[in-house]
């Protein structure tokens, strides 16, 4: 395991996908965090999800 991938003892830089209370708590701990404005793919439309699945392989 390469040392540069080891997250221990490195400054955490976080990407948050989902609930927004998590980044709030991280910021309160002084952690750099960026949130992704995540939406369910295809708006939950089943036909489109099927299409999306095929396109993503």
């Amino acid at each position: 395991m390469t040392d540069d991938k080891n997250i221990f003892n490195k400054e955490l830089k976080v990407i948050n996908i989902g609930i927004d209370t998590f980044p709030k708590d991280l910021k309160a701990q002084g952690v750099d965090v960026i949130s992704v404005d995540w939406r369910p793919p295809a708006g939950g439309d089943l036909d489109m999800l099927k299409l999306l699945e095929k396109l993503e392989g």
């Binding site: 439309d45 099927k50 999306l52 396109l55």
Partner: protein, 332 residues
């Protein structure tokens, strides 16, 4: 309400004049707004002011973050400035005095001193093979499917028959898609066959349809027109008579939609699109190092759902041109 006389009165509580510099001026805007020309404010938005130049057409003063385009004068404006709060109103007089665009007499001056002329680039270098264009198109389709769901025309993408069950009846379409779909299919067939009458009939049933200041179907047509124009200029398989089709479409735009949308449509019919669309098309068609996903996201975040509708139009347009190149369509 429809008073043609431009207003030109001093504002009582105004303390200073807003003075900004344009960084670029689109080729069509430059032609329309020559020295000495006078016009009126057509509409005012947070970061955009549209100007109507008599006998010429619309041009737009836009914050530079919006980007460059044939009708745009892109202006360096601080992020907090909101044009709707500075007393510029519809009907106010506009005049170009030497290199200064004066809006609403004493309220807003835009200097064209350092504005660089921007012309759409219609021919690209390093065009890739059709199979690569098709791969790129599939990526674009994936992005539109993943992120495009808040547009009323999103459901047009369900037409990808090879991916969806063939015999599934498309009854669950929303009202806008339901009205648009048969016309879109008719239009594409008519373009392929060079059938002017059908082109005109279907376009007349599309221009002005849908929500948005630029109605959804209009944005779709902008994307469609620009994509077939660019394909024809750069990668034409040869059989589809793109120029004829664009002329036919152009003939049925006037009077059927909002003024602003009309301008975008007319420009698209002659291959003039905004820079973000041009960049997306370049990413689709060339091996120039442009990130397709990034350029697609830029378009998708444009104007509510306008960008997504344009992309759906591009998808249909490029696909149609590719199916012209192959004997069988892979995507439809």
């Amino acid at each position: 309400m429809n008073d043609p006389t431009p207003k030109n009165h001093p504002r009582e509580n105004m303390t200073f004049r807003d003075n900004f510099s344009a960084v670029s001026i689109g080729s069509v805007a430059a032609l329309r707004m020559t020295k000495g020309v006078e016009g009126q404010v057509h509409s005012v938005f947070r970061r955009v002011i549209n100007l109507e130049i008599p006998n010429e057409g619309l041009i737009s003063l836009v914050g530079s973050e919006i980007g460059r385009g044939p009708l745009y004068i892109s202006v360096e404006i601080p992020p907090h400035i909101d044009f709707t709060t500075i007393s510029v109103e519809r009907g106010d007089r506009v005049i170009r005095d030497e290199n200064l665009v004066k809006v609403s007499a004493n309220i807003l001056d835009i200097s064209l001193e350092n504005a660089v002329l921007w012309e759409p680039m219609k021919q690209f270098s390093d065009i890739v093979a059709y199979s690569d264009i098709e791969s790129n198109l599939t990526i674009l389709l994936r992005l539109a499917t993943r992120f495009g769901n808040h547009s009323d025309l999103y459901q047009l993408l369900k037409c990808y028959k090879s991916f969806v069950d063939d015999d599934k009846e498309l009854t669950e379409l929303n009202p806008v898609s339901r009205m648009a779909l048969p016309q879109v299919m008719k239009l594409l067939d008519a373009i392929k066959l060079g059938n002017t009458e059908n082109i005109v009939q279907s376009v007349m049933k599309l221009v002005g349809l849908g929500p948005g200041l630029t109605p959804a179907a209009d944005d779709f047509l902008v994307g469609l027109m620009l994509s077939i124009f660019y394909m024809a200029e750069n990668s034409n398989p040869g059989k589809i008579r793109v120029q004829d089709a664009l002329n036919d479409i152009q003939s049925c735009i006037h009077g059927r939609t909002t003024r602003i949308s009309e301008e975008f449509l007319l420009q698209a019919a002659i291959g003039n699109g905004n820079e973000i669309i041009q960049t997306l098309l370049e990413a689709l068609l060339t091996s120039n190092k442009i990130d397709l996903e990034q350029s697609a996201h830029k378009v998708m975040s444009f104007g509510g759902t306008s960008g997504i509708d344009m992309i759906i139009g591009i998808i249909f347009g490029v696909n149609m041109m590719l199916s012209d190149a192959y004997t069988k369509s892979h995507l439809f």
